[in-house]
């Protein structure tokens, strides 16, 4: 998990579209993870992810785990670019609208100490 810089996340006024865009995020290229002897190489990643609500309501509630989520299902698409300088490798995805994802939600959550308030 990494902090998102100011302006990295934009949410439409109606709350139905989330756009996350970040540049040059430091990541680790570790193809054989989670093998204990897997080699990790420094890499950088640019990406843009767009969630759009479908309007179908979703509610997750688990008192045992102290969390509550209300929101909607969503579509989600991604475009990304990865560079691993040490091995001279880079890769760039096709345009955003060519990707698809099977599971996506957007909404509001409370958990932990806030669940009991």
């Amino acid at each position: 998990m990494v902090p998102v810089p100011n302006g990295g996340l934009s949410i439409s006024a109606d709350g139905n579209t989330f756009t996350l865009e970040m540049q040059s995020v430091a990541v680790v290229d570790q193809p054989r993870w989670p093998a204990l002897d897997s080699i990790a190489t420094g890499a950088r990643m640019n990406f843009k992810i767009v969630w759009k609500s479908t309007g179908e309501p979703v509610k997750y509630e688990d008192a045992g785990k102290h969390f509550h989520f209300t929101g909607t299902r969503a579509t989600c698409q991604l475009e990304a670019e990865v560079e691993v300088p040490a091995i001279g490798f880079s890769w760039k995805s096709d345009a955003l609208n060519s990707s698809k994802c099977d599971v996506a939600v957007i909404g509001d959550e409370v958990n932990g100490r806030y669940y009991d308030v």
Partner: protein, 134 residues
């Protein structure tokens, strides 16, 4: 030596992209990652109040990655003691091209992303922030 050769093969670059977020593990919050390496010889005293970094979901750490796939009934946030907006997704499929012109697919059930924006509790006080799991 064999492992190094194998790791750098084209096949494994393909595996990287299929594995997505699992293979491209974020370096994390710099203060936490460099804490051990940058430790000074003589430690200065500090208030034992905890850091301001977000607290992970306690039961998601069995793989050491503070993560679970997105899915029905599964908690979308990666931060515990949190209230705010969350977006979560997984199971991507798509295509791309490497720097040698090879067409390489990306995506698997473990290719998941999330973003959280709001208030979280750390260092005995409410904090504000936006974080992503990639």
């Amino acid at each position: 030596m064999t492992q190094i050769t194998t790791t750098f093969s084209a096949r494994n670059r393909r595996d990287v992209l299929k594995a997505g977020a699992v293979a491209l593990v974020p370096l994390g919050i710099p203060s936490a990652m460099h804490a051990l390496a940058d430790q000074p010889a003589a430690q200065s005293s500090m208030t034992a109040n905890g850091g301001t970094d977000p607290y992970p979901i306690p039961w998601l750490d069995k793989n050491g990655s503070h993560n679970q796939p997105a899915g029905a009934g599964l908690e979308p946030s990666h931060i515990y003691h949190f209230k705010g907006r969350v977006a979560r997704c997984s199971t991507f499929t798509g295509m791309g091209t490497d720097n040698k012109g090879n067409r390489i697919a990306f995506g698997s059930p473990t290719t998941d992303y999330g973003v959280m924006q709001g208030e979280y509790w750390a260092a005995r006080s409410a904090q504000q922030g936006t974080f992503t799991h990639i």
